[in-house]
Amino acid sequence: MIRLEDPMMIRAFVVAVACVCAAVPARAAVVEAVDLPTLCRDATRIVHGVVVGEASAWRDGIIVTRVTVAVRRALKGPAARTLVVSRLGGVVDGIGQVAPGEAELAPGEEIVLFVEPVLGELRVVGMAQGVFHVADGRAAQRLAGLTLVGAKARERTYTLRALLAAIAREAR
């Protein structure tokens, strides 16, 4: 039986508690999100492609970044070789703007993207929820920076093949 009357044992106990604090990772967010059927329903266009360019510019005091995606496969909506989607924030002349939760779209990255028309531009559905980042045959959401309303699903990871098949079923 462990006895805590001994000061040495008490120190050991507190050290053990400190281990709890030190051993865990600094980030471990798992966030509830809009589910895949809803993404498919909201999106007017769904594409599998690669980010090939981005350009940030001021627009009435707000930095908007337009991202160009080379489409490998159109899963919903019109077939086109490229798609341009706008997102909030970016960097212009050493000034940055950030809206936590906005979609991450990095040049060179393979993605599955869900977009909707908003005021004449394409926007990512549900901000970061509407992007699956593809690597090594897997497609995953990154929701760490996103405020979510609802509890329909959690951050999702699929094999690319399974995701494309699910989208094909939902978007039919």
Partner: protein
């Protein structure tokens, strides 16, 4: 039993109940998309003691009489962190308050409902836009936009049908201050916010710890004005308890709670456990912030009385809100 084996058992026990991290997170110059150039991620931070803000005069038609008081209460919640030097100053309402940032121009930190022509994702309920310097991380301007086009708002939620203004804006003010989402489900800065939720109106110890660490008394920017420049609407006076007295939930809150619960159950009332630890380390146990005391007594009841020795996450005792929520089209 030899001490070494006992120690090993304790360490194993502690690690066995370790919980996910609980700690505030800061937005950095690498958080934007695309990120700022350069190798270093600099945390975003205001370099002023007094942060003024205005509320667009139209507020929201969902709340009779407007929602200005609820917005002000949201800022006041962060203002009330006694160990922080930052003070918010309400500069009144403004018709057609301008959103965004103009270099060299007059800029306002704005809270504004957008009732038509919402230009972001239709599923976004609120967006905070921070403008900052890529080199220093200094925040120049911040605006909070609320999606009145696609969501209903309320100041007295009765269910998952409308977003509580104070709950939403308190969370967004955290972003305005440069905080990102925290992994603790109880945190005001947690990412999930079901419609009708109100728990984010109050800060957790971890949220307050973030304020203390980033904007702690005694660490005011050298070129900033004194706190009393805030004016009459700046909120409650600072407490004269400089330094970071907030004992946050920190990492491994639930694991810590369980280990301490075990100790309390095994060795009797908390006073005895406290005395034992005090004896071992020869000093008093940590102090607690006003914010944390208030919240702990509300949320924790007997656990607090049993374990007066430390700040403990209450997440193990609080159910994570799994409220239903869906977008509510207008």
């Amino acid at each position: 039993m030899r001490p070494s084996r006992a120690s090993a058992r304790l360490v194993v026990l502690a690690l066995a109940v370790a919980a996910p991290a609980r700690a505030y997170v800061r937005t950095t110059t690498k958080s934007s998309n695309p990120p700022c150039p350069g190798p270093t991620a600099v945390p975003l931070q205001w370099r002023q003691v007094v942060i003024p803000y205005v509320v667009d005069a139209a507020t929201t038609p969902d709340v009779p009489g407007g929602a200005v008081d609820a917005v002000r209460a949201s800022f006041q919640t962060w203002d009330d962190v006694a160990s922080s030097y930052v003070t918010f100053r309400f500069d009144g309402t403004m018709a057609n308050a301008p959103v965004g940032y103009v270099m060299g121009g007059p800029n306002e930190n704005v809270v504004k409902w957008i009732e038509s022509n919402w230009s972001q994702s239709t599923r976004a309920i609120a967006v905070t836009l921070n403008t900052f310097d890529c080199n220093s991380g200094e925040i120049f301007d911040a605006d909070i936009l609320l999606n009145g086009q696609n969501f209903l708002f309320t100041i007295a939620p009765t269910g998952p049908t409308a977003a509580d203004v104070q709950n939403t804006v308190t969370h967004e003010v955290g972003h305005l201050l440069g905080f990102d989402h925290a992994p603790d489900p109880e945190s005001t800065m947690y990412a999930d916010a079901p419609l009708g939720e109100t728990k984010k109106r109050d800060l957790t110890a971890d949220d307050a710890q973030g304020m203390c660490d980033v904007y702690g008394l005694g660490h005011e920017p050298a070129d900033a004005g004194p706190p009393d420049a805030a004016g009459p609407d700046a909120g409650s006076p600072r407490a004269d308890d400089g330094g970071c007295a907030v004992a946050g939930q920190g990492a491994g809150g639930r694991g810590l709670l369980l280990v301490l619960l075990w100790a309390a159950a095994r060795y009797g009332p908390g006073r005895r456990a406290t005395a034992l630890i005090s004896r071992a380390f020869g000093r008093r146990t940590p102090s607690r912030s006003r914010v944390h005391r208030r919240r702990s007594f509300h949320r924790c009841g007997y656990v607090w009385r049993v374990m007066s020795m430390s700040c403990v996450s209450m997440s193990a005792h609080s159910s994570i809100c799994s409220g239903v929520s869906a977008r509510r089209p207008r």
